[in-house]
């Protein structure tokens, strides 16, 4: 196998693709991914119920606060719970799941550099998470916008459609950010649940943190990227993170930087990882 640059890199790219394909084949099936599909599908259920209710006139609503409602549910429920726990299920399984099933050694015995293995697995998790959650976000958004068409002011529907790509972008970035964090946690901790709860608590407490600490969290960047500022009042105020959201390019680069750093750290740590399946 000649070592000159191009063929080596092309072979490694083929290996990344092979790893991703194997992971998707294993985890993308209905039986294995059921938990993720339920989480994603819940959001759609909320909005479907809402549009049916409003169609039968059970609740009054006009265009503007529907969009605000979508933004509210998207930020409160979808990002913080559905995508969060979805990424926990998918990305913890990539390494900690394999250790518990005692099948990680098959990967370490393949002629694949361990860094390539981490990138391959991360990509497969990202593809699955992004596909499922982006589809769910889009589907529920369609239901919401379609319901808007019934309302008098047509103008709203066109601006609404404009916001969809932003929502999809935020969803994919959320999957990338949370995915990287849980990939690392899955690799480091024998019992990753406590660190996961730690991240959950950290993410919801950053409202009270000084601006510098706010930078080390995924939700901070995602909030500022959401197209509709959520006018929270009363108890929901807890969720509005910062009065002045940072500009889009800072937010996007922040998430990507955080993700890249975490994946790089995982790639370094994996080299020293040993196969010792202790008994439960």
């Amino acid at each position: 196998m000649n070592e000159d640059g191009t063929t080596a890199w092309r072979m490694r790219a083929a290996q990344v693709a092979a790893v991703a394909r194997l992971e998707l084949k294993k985890n993308f099936s209905l039986r294995r991914g059921i938990a993720v599909y339920i989480l994603a599908f819940m959001q759609f259920l909320i909005f479907a119920a809402h549009s049916i209710a409003s169609a039968r006139g059970m609740t009054h609503c006009d265009g503007s606060d529907d969009l605000a409602m979508y933004a509210g549910v998207f930020q409160v429920f979808f990002l913080r719970l559905a995508v969060f726990f979805g990424c926990v299920v998918i990305f913890l399984n990539l390494f900690r799941g394999e250790v518990l099933q005692k099948s990680l050694h098959y990967y370490f015995l393949a002629p694949v550099r361990r860094e390539v293995l981490v990138i391959g697995k991360y990509l497969s998790g990202l593809i699955m998470a992004a596909l499922v959650f982006a589809a769910a976000a889009a589907l529920s958004y369609m239901v919401q916008v379609q319901h808007l068409a019934l309302t008098p002011n047509r103008a709203l529907t066109s601006t609404a459609m404009g916001q969809l790509p932003a929502y999809l972008g935020v969803t994919v970035l959320a999957c990338a950010g949370y995915g990287a964090v849980f990939l690392l946690l899955g690799m480091l901790f024998r019992n990753p649940i406590i660190p996961v709860i730690g991240v959950l608590v950290w993410e919801s407490l950053i409202i009270f943190f000084p601006p510098l600490l706010k930078k080390i969290s995924v939700i901070f960047y995602l909030e500022s990227l959401c197209p509709v500022r959520v006018p929270f009042d009363g108890a929901a105020h807890l969720f509005a993170i910062s009065a002045n959201p940072s500009p889009a390019y800072v937010a996007i680069s922040g998430v990507l930087l955080l993700t890249a750093a975490v994946v790089a750290l995982a790639s370094v740590l994996v080299r020293r990882m040993e196969i010792r399946y202790g008994s439960e």
């Binding site: 084949k25 099936s29 294995r32 394999e98 010792r276 399946y277």
Partner: protein
């Protein structure tokens, strides 16, 4: 035999915390079948995991045909490891399990499919290949693991108790397969507890006890080196054991003769077996005794194991 074409352990030690894995191992493995023998927990699996990079040594260096275990790309294109873990990536069929691990080599779909089919053929699992691995019996799972290890036609094969759970026919087929691979010049490192099979298949043996290498080399040669402390015992059954015993005491290389409890056989301990066999042959030809059977009692792997490691061994 330069280091380039041997598997070399230089002063390798491995500790899990302060639990001893292996200690100061100096071994150089030539082509052919080398069996690792030793009680549970004596370090056989640790040696294999060190050789394949699943664990890093605490001290010392390892080279497999000159390749360090920390370089997976070069190592695993020439090495296949069939571990003892009876576990599989969930949800895959036997065929998929082998096919996808070949694709990890960066192989194209066609080549991977062809090699998978050939590997399945070699372990005669072709018809059950498309059922899920979870529905296989223990022996069938073992065959699939074996097929996965040999699928990419590696030069070095590391097998941790490969015959564990296989039925007698599968065992003899597997042994025939190992012999044919060894004949083609491959390196086979096999750990096994079934010592009469170790006798049949191994070219050389590495005996381990409590993490130390206690013996290395050809079984007969190892036995030969032990003639001083453990002279070779031979059981001879014939019609006049008393007369034979009388003659044998005259020989200087014979150091002990015991009457077997059924008074039909003699157990002779001698330091020079060849001289004894020649003498026995002449006695039979002269008609001095009617020989019923002659068999060395302790020159197989089992006796060497008993003498070096003892029945206690690691509990």
């Amino acid at each position: 035999m330069s280091a380039e074409d041997r598997i070399v352990f230089e002063d390798v030690s491995k500790f899990y915390g302060d639990v001893l894995g292996v200690n100061q191992v100096r071994v150089s493995i030539p082509p052919g079948i080398t069996t690792l023998v030793g009680p549970n927990g004596s370090g056989k699996t640790t040696l294999m995991n060190l050789m394949t990079g699943l664990v890093q040594p605490s001290r010392g260096s390892i080279r497999v045909l000159g390749i360090p275990p920390s370089d997976p790309e070069r190592l695993f294109s020439v090495l296949g490891y069939c571990t003892q873990f009876d576990s599989f990536p969930r949800g895959l069929t036997g065929y998929e399990f082998i096919y996808y691990s070949l694709r990890l080599h960066g192989m194209g779909a066609g080549r991977a499919d062809e090699l998978t089919a050939r590997a399945l053929e070699r372990v005669s699992m072709s018809e059950a290949a498309h059922r899920r691995v979870a529905s296989y019996s223990k022996g069938m799972r073992q065959r699939i693991k074996l097929a996965q290890a040999i699928a990419h036609q590696p030069a070095v094969l590391v097998l941790d108790e490969p015959l564990n759970g296989l039925d007698p026919m599968a065992r003899s087929e597997a042994i025939a397969l190992f012999r044919s691979l060894a004949a083609e010049g491959s390196y086979l490192v096999i750990s096994s507890h079934i010592l009469h099979e170790v006798d049949r298949i191994s070219d050389q043996v590495v005996m381990l006890s409590n993490g130390y290498v206690v013996a290395e080399g050809q079984i007969q040669a190892v036995r030969g080196e032990m003639h001083q402390e453990h002279p070779l015992q031979i059981l001879v059954r014939c019609n006049r054991p008393g007369a034979l015993a009388g003659k044998l005491f005259a020989e200087d290389h014979v150091c002990d003769v015991r009457m077997h409890h059924d008074r039909r056989g003699l157990v002779v301990a001698t330091r020079a077996p060849e001289v004894f066999y020649k003498l026995l042959g002449e006695l039979v030809l002269e008609g001095a005794i009617d020989l019923e059977s002659v068999a060395p009692a302790d020159d197989d792997a089992h006796s060497v194991y008993e003498y070096l490691i003892g029945s206690g061994g690691a509990q």
